[in-house]
Amino acid sequence: MQPAIEVHELRKTFKVQRNREGLAGALRDLFRREYVEVTAVKDISFTIPQGEICGYIGENGAGKSTTIKMLAGILVPTSGTVRVAGYVPWRERERFVRNIGVVFGQRSQLWWDIGVIESFRLLRKVYRVPMADYRRRLDELVERLQLGDLLNRPVRKLSLGQRMRCELVASLLHNPSILFLDEPTIGLDIVVKTEIREFLIRLNREHGTTILLTTHDLQDIEALCSRVIMLDDGRIIYDGGLDELKTRWSRGREIRLQFGEQVALERLERLTADLPGASWQAGRDMTAVLRVPADVNLSDALARVVGSGVDIRDIKFMETSTDEIVREIYKSGSASGAERLVGAT
């Protein structure tokens, strides 16, 4: 079975006009413009098999949208090769796009002034979907996303959550095998977010739809993706499972303790001195945090503290959240972070 998406040494360079300062500069620009080359995507390679849900994350300007646009056939790559669903996207665009669905969270693909259903009807014609297929598909999608009473309302009268659900239907009417989602949950409330996530999981399970999504909401990733590709400054700095990302970058687990008395930090440190990598941090109001590396048994660490006779009122276990991990990776900078991640693979 051929992979859904194959990307090899993909690069995209933009020529950006540089405006000189001041009036004199503007006048000089009139005659001779200066251009700066900006490379948004720097020779990235990856392969996504059919039926996978893959998260594509990175900070703003890391090159996520540029990549997605190249995969969807909107932009022509500067160099490298792309094959999506067996096509070179930009070269055979009109035949290719029947196989994909695209949702840009920030932009609408529906007609603003007419009922949603009219937009769907037009899309049916554009994609040349047979009437019977269209009916079946629409019924299924409308039921899943509970759109029943919205269909006759014009898009401008829908809430963002309602609109986004309609956008999903619009992108799926022609039953694409690959779905590209660029920030599908941006600005939505938690209820709609959950609904959309559940919908996507079911779509993937029942129709085998391959999904590639960019997001800033890491809960999307946790709920949906088995795989994450992390981008920084146009380069891939991580490509693999979400669990691996967590274990490799996690600073271990934390035990938060609330004491009934003032306990000196030295005393606590002495308790766990024989556990390699365990560290303490004192908090306010007689609390302290014990960090335990992944390879140390959690109950061993706890036994040492509890058995020491210190007055403990409350214990909380925390795991480093994906949010924290990702923030950590961004903060650590691209180059060194990349070496650390790639070297460890």
């Binding site: 969807a72 932009l75 930009w90 009109e94 796009v97 994909i100 007419i114 009219e118 554009v126």
Partner: protein, 264 residues
């Protein structure tokens, strides 16, 4: 082909539905369009108050050419309303959406911006032609009707090719250019007989920006005054239309490859 005709109908229906919600706007647009053409006609009529002929053309002949000019122009303005292309599709990035749909991108954009009231101008033009033709005692047979279709198609293609190429400039620079309004002014020269202009202007209007082929050249096919040379120019209309349409599409397709999307 059937697919695109079907799409045209669907887009038209959506246009109608949208427009019916803003009925007042619709009539204002129609009326202002016709008023604009009426003023141009009045200018011609006033000019002939002062002189019996203009460069050897009688009033009826000039008005006939004016009427003909309105026919392809009406069709063109119905299907080619892209004056805000650069802003809407390039700067705001709506081209992204167009490029992810399985129909030719230029065709989709033309349909999305369809402006059917433009066709009313074509009908008015036909009426003006009929009235002046009667004044001049011209006779029409079925070959004239066929020629009218062929020549109008050619003239529409001249418009289409030229404006497609000019609109495609939006792909190459994001700064707005004043070229489109300039063109729009220049094209109105096509509705007067080219013989009234000097040689340079005549050359420009014939070969470089062939607006003479959207008005006076094809119209003179029908006029009794035309000699062999005029007929030759008239019959050249479809050829010029094809050449310019080809140029327009090539420039457009190069432009689409250079499209870089709006940051989101």
């Amino acid at each position: 082909m059937m697919f695109y005709l079907g799409l045209m109908w669907e887009y038209f229906k959506n246009y109608a539905k949208t427009r019916l919600t803003y009925r007042a706007d619709f009539w204002i647009e129609v009326v202002s369009d016709l008023a604009f053409q009426a003023i141009n006609l009045i200018v011609i009529l006033i000019a002939f108050r002062h002189t019996p002929t203009l460069g050897g053309w009688t009033e009826a002949e000039v008005v006939f050419v004016f009427g003909y000019f309105m026919v392809p122009y009406g069709i063109f303005s119905c299907f080619f309303d892209l004056w805000n292309f650069s802003e809407r599709y390039i700067v705001k990035g709506e081209m992204d959406r167009v490029l992810t749909r399985p129909a030719h991108n230029l065709f989709q954009i033309l349909l999305e911006n369809m402006y059917p009231p433009g066709l009313i101008g074509s009908f008015v033009g036909l009426v003006i032609m009929a009235v002046t033709a009667r004044q001049m005692g011209m006779t029409f047979d079925w070959t004239d009707l066929v020629m009218l279709l062929v020549l109008t198609a050619g003239a529409v293609m001249v418009y289409f090719g030229l404006y497609t190429a000019l609109t495609a400039i939006g792909f190459f620079t994001d700064a707005p250019t004043g070229i489109l309004p300039l063109m729009f002014n220049l094209q109105s020269y096509g509705r007067y007989p080219v013989t009234i202009y000097n040689r340079t202007m005549r050359f420009v209007l014939t070969w470089l920006l062939p607006f003479a082929f959207v008005g006076v050249y094809p119209a003179s096919y029908f006029l009794e005054r035309s000699g062999a040379a005029d007929l030759r120019m008239a019959l050249l209309t479809p050829a010029v239309g094809l050449v310019f349409t080809a140029i327009g599409l090539v420039v457009w397709n190069i432009g689409v490859k250079r499209y870089r999307g709006a940051g989101s």
